[in-house]
Amino acid sequence: MSEQKKTKVMFVCRTAPYGTIYEQEAIEAMIMFGAYEQDISVSFVGDGVFSLKKGQDTSLVGKKNFSMTYPILIDDFEISHIYVEKESLEERGLKEDDLATEVEIIDRNTLKQKMDEMKAILPF
């Protein structure tokens, strides 16, 4: 399929991990989507940025730690971009160092421009 014909889809992740299943099921969808050779990107906005916090240890709550998946989304699952909103990080007292994986930290206006280019936006 030629580059031009790829469909641009963005997951917009706005929820914190573990309190609800949204983030986990969003990742499950990202992984499946990666296999179809489209242009899939992921953005973290609002409480979604907490999903990337490093050092997660879910042993005492009895849940699966899915934060391990973020570092391999791009290389193993063909996700095009992982964007994180700068302002949301700052409001929550998080720095780049606090994140479990390498991401593109961009400001709201820049992220909005990316959203405007999408064919479909999937909020989680």
Binding site: G19, G46, D47, G93
Partner: protein, 99 residues
């Protein structure tokens, strides 16, 4: 009373609603996504510190760890308790969950 919070203060009014009902001798317990209220350096740090000046505030160890928050990232004077500590607080105070 024991006020239990389980939603993030950044996306839900649960904590600020509860704050209106925390009277003398009441205590506050942060669980699940409510944990984020206890994280240092966020824009809501001042809000929790206001509560701490008058009331005991606790957070649940299992949820703190799950969310990758280290002990030194927790606001001062917030006490970390485990599920047994949670049970003990419920025996000492009548619980109300603000979800």
């Amino acid at each position: 009373m024991l006020h239990i919070i389980k939603k993030s203060p950044y996306e839900s009014s649960a904590l600020s609603d509860a704050a209106n009902y925390i009277s003398q001798n009441d205590i506050l317990l942060l669980t699940e996504d409510g944990i984020y209220a206890a994280k240092k350096g966020g824009k809501l740090e001042g809000f929790l510190k206001g509560i701490i000046q008058k009331n005991q505030v606790y957070c649940l160890l299992a949820d703190v760890k799950a969310r990758g928050i280290q002990e030194n990232e927790i606001i001062e004077n917030v006490k970390i308790i485990d599920y047994k500590g949670f049970v003990q607080k419920v025996t000492e105070h009548n619980p109300m969950t603000w979800s």
